[in-house]
Assembly symmetry: C2
Homo-oligomer: 575 residues x 2
Amino acid sequence: MDKRTVGCLGGGQLGRMMVYAAHRLGVRMCVLDPLGEHSPAGQVSELSVKGSFQDAEKIRELASKCDILTLEVEHVNAQVLEELHQKGVPVQPLPFVVKLIQDKYDQKVHLQKHSIPLPDFEKVDSEQQLHSIGEKFGFPMMLKSRFGAYDGRGNAVVANAAAIPTAWKKLGGHDGKKLYVEKWAPFKMELAVMVARGVDETMNVTMRTYPVVHTVQRDSVCFTCLTPPVGVTQKQQELAQKVATDAIKSFDDARGIFGVEMFLLEDGQVLLNEIAPRPHNTGHYTMEACGVDQFEQHLRAVLGLPLGDCNLRVGGAMMVNILGQGETPEMVAKTMAPLRRALRVPDAGIHWYGKEGCVKGRKMGHITVTGFTPASALEEIRPVLKAVDGEGNDSTSIEVPHKSSPSVGIIMGSDSDLPTMKDAAVVLDDFGIPYEISVVSAHRTPEYMYEYATTAEARGINVIIAGAGGAAHLPGMVAALTPLPVVGVPVKSSALSGNDSLLSIVQMPKGIPVATVAIGNAANAGLLAVRILGAANPGMRQKMARFMSSESTMVETKRRKLESEGWQAYLAGSK
Amino acid sequence: MDKRTVGCLGGGQLGRMMVYAAHRLGVRMCVLDPLGEHSPAGQVSELSVKGSFQDAEKIRELASKCDILTLEVEHVNAQVLEELHQKGVPVQPLPFVVKLIQDKYDQKVHLQKHSIPLPDFEKVDSEQQLHSIGEKFGFPMMLKSRFGAYDGRGNAVVANAAAIPTAWKKLGGHDGKKLYVEKWAPFKMELAVMVARGVDETMNVTMRTYPVVHTVQRDSVCFTCLTPPVGVTQKQQELAQKVATDAIKSFDDARGIFGVEMFLLEDGQVLLNEIAPRPHNTGHYTMEACGVDQFEQHLRAVLGLPLGDCNLRVGGAMMVNILGQGETPEMVAKTMAPLRRALRVPDAGIHWYGKEGCVKGRKMGHITVTGFTPASALEEIRPVLKAVDGEGNDSTSIEVPHKSSPSVGIIMGSDSDLPTMKDAAVVLDDFGIPYEISVVSAHRTPEYMYEYATTAEARGINVIIAGAGGAAHLPGMVAALTPLPVVGVPVKSSALSGNDSLLSIVQMPKGIPVATVAIGNAANAGLLAVRILGAANPGMRQKMARFMSSESTMVETKRRKLESEGWQAYLAGSK
């Protein structure tokens, strides 16, 4: 479709997945990598150059074969890219951005200038200076290398003043390595957002932002990612997307995709941690979960093609990285185990990177499981996580490194409604739908009701079932505070047999509907929740159809009995 | 993950997409194709052999490099595959199946033996015999080549007795080409189903069946595919899946994926048309729409790995093939136009096959658009179809070759309910949700009500809004006949002000819920339908949240006006 050849500095797994996207678009690629045609990307690209992406000559050779240069790793010779760019070779993202990002301290200074929220940071030139910064920032604090850091390498936590000498030495401060310090960010979770920056037909900037991901590190390497993140409110997610987008906006005229890692603090603040000017591990889930994946989006941005859709096409997705365990046959088998296990998981996307050997700690592949909700993705990926940690562990003991989330919330105004409302739970159990159940009183716990309703969507809830009796305000108030569908159960009251509950729930004003069921009929509320989940889920509809047909059969059995025995025997028998 | 090398006879686009799947699984591939490493699959596979897939020597050379052989085209030298298989080389699907399928007449005889429903067919050895068959089958009838036919080549419609000599000559009957005849199948639609046949860990057969696709041909070549097919009932879809699965069951011990093309007749019968023992054009949609795509599924089946999930992960998907228009620059540009247009379509998957040149009629690529419903996929792909047919055409005049389907059905017991029920339509228009609106009376048109409710799901409807007054049976009866969520609107009655309607709708027995809204409040029914669609659709929830916030703003404006003007002026102003 596009006759240009894209040259990529680096031929690892990010490059490999970029090549697949290039194939689909009909774009040719040439990769520069020390492993050349044997690198993960070189194995599948049309062309390759063998050499270091630091080597000026090799980069020039790559440029001579290509129409435009990009990269899948930022630790490249940015100087040569700048020279080539000056000579008119298109390079995206622009070399100045690559250079800026290579120096984490300069990156932070740039972002601070553009009012991006960051942890406090300061340049440090001596061990002694570190002590005075420690007094200012407090402990623990982070000592970081300005250059060449990735996957936790180049970072050191300084727990207290006594730990300063060790940290200083560990990062090579004594050898003149350039370092800087960051104030400790007391984060609740780490979030990440991919942002694409491209141009439209008239060369005006266009930007697209992917959903927010909750990332979990293990030994400082990305372990799992979950989207949408459970336990992060819609507003917090929008804030994270805004921080990420604002940061990338600051890179004038640069094009491509950017991975933005952030901290979500306990108080809801979002601070930017760092930026990668390329596809990123936290964006792998986009391959199964989004309209256009991060690799195709990067190429579109770099080539000036229209950017694609970033929205989720699924309810939730979780990714887990597969790291090499070592070169022995046992270690190779252990590395492969989660991939083999994933073959038996519905909706698991398996990605093997084709690397030679099985070096311990190296990223060998990844698995993404999508689901109707984040909760179902979490549940489905559990056996794969178990396989990551070895078969010795009991599956139930595997800690999924994200909060799980129920799909339906059952709430009631009082525990006295529970004997009625439990029927909804029984139905959901029968249909295998995860739910949470609680007492939320509109009149006695109005603040909690507000919190419950406004956070339900972010918790991954798809439908709320609310039961109440008498003046029965709960269902309607909750419906006023969430865009989710709310099913109302009028609980039978002693004074008016539930007439009061029914009218309080069903007669909502225009604008805020409550899906009301019969008085005391919480089973029907459960069944309605199943139908609502089935509106966009053929599998769930099939389950409902099977339930309806089993109900038919039950009635037909009774009919046949009555017809064959006669009404007298039937009544006598049912006594 | 799997150290075996898979050899594939044929290196076209099906092979290319099979190689991508092999990469993901960590399996190596070697393809045999006349274009060798320049073939679409050879460009991306680890190994390739240049040669014909009819050439015995070349097939043996391929076998020598591989652990197992498979194919992406059935017109191969099956004799050599049989010999290799005898000598212990694993070949899947088994050579006897490939041979059987190569001869369309033998294929039919085999399927008939296994009670698969087929159009009547008969072997024909002479032009004269064709006349007597014509008298028996009636006209039109289909004259078909037994061997080597594909994409409509090798088929001739015999319109009447006078057309026999031309058809006989066209297919080479006079040159001794082996032909057979099929009785004309008066089909309503052409359907297709992909079926995978593999083995479990104990080598027992396991089978998985993909959803049903509606295929539309243009000039005898697959043009578009839509899934789920609109206008095909759930029972008909299950029948098509059963016919396809039964057919593939008959191929003892063969493994792989099979494309099964069928006719759906006006009376609901399904007849098998033909089978391809490999990935198939009608299964391309599985790449974007299903848990595991047909290419990975084929490799899993062939290699004896666990089969993957076939269920749709989206509400609907439509695929369009991009055929070469010719070699001139204008023709190449015309070929590319739909791909370029697809870049601006959300949820469009673009697949370019990397073929040299742009031969007229050759399959150069395909585009799959997924959507929340088949209707939204149809709507989104419209501009791409327009680009296929050239920019000269008016977009509104492009005929989408499938029925479109509304997402919400609004029905009412009487046209006198329309002034109430129109409010639901207004809301759906505001939210951009396609709907149908009709009068369906439970008491006066019970048969039509039955038909409406039982076919709603297959028509692509996700939610039904039913309004009725007085004895108001419509919502409950419809809910009893569909697994879809039904929203009930009690229409205000003259005798009891809608109290009767409300109780008739809301007080449903256990088992069949109706989501009841306030008396006469059809706007809330529309909003509830939007919330239901949003239960699994974050984009729709965002729209609902925006609506709720605009309602807040409206009330706040009034509040500020009242507070600043005082109540007297406020009331005076609102007169």
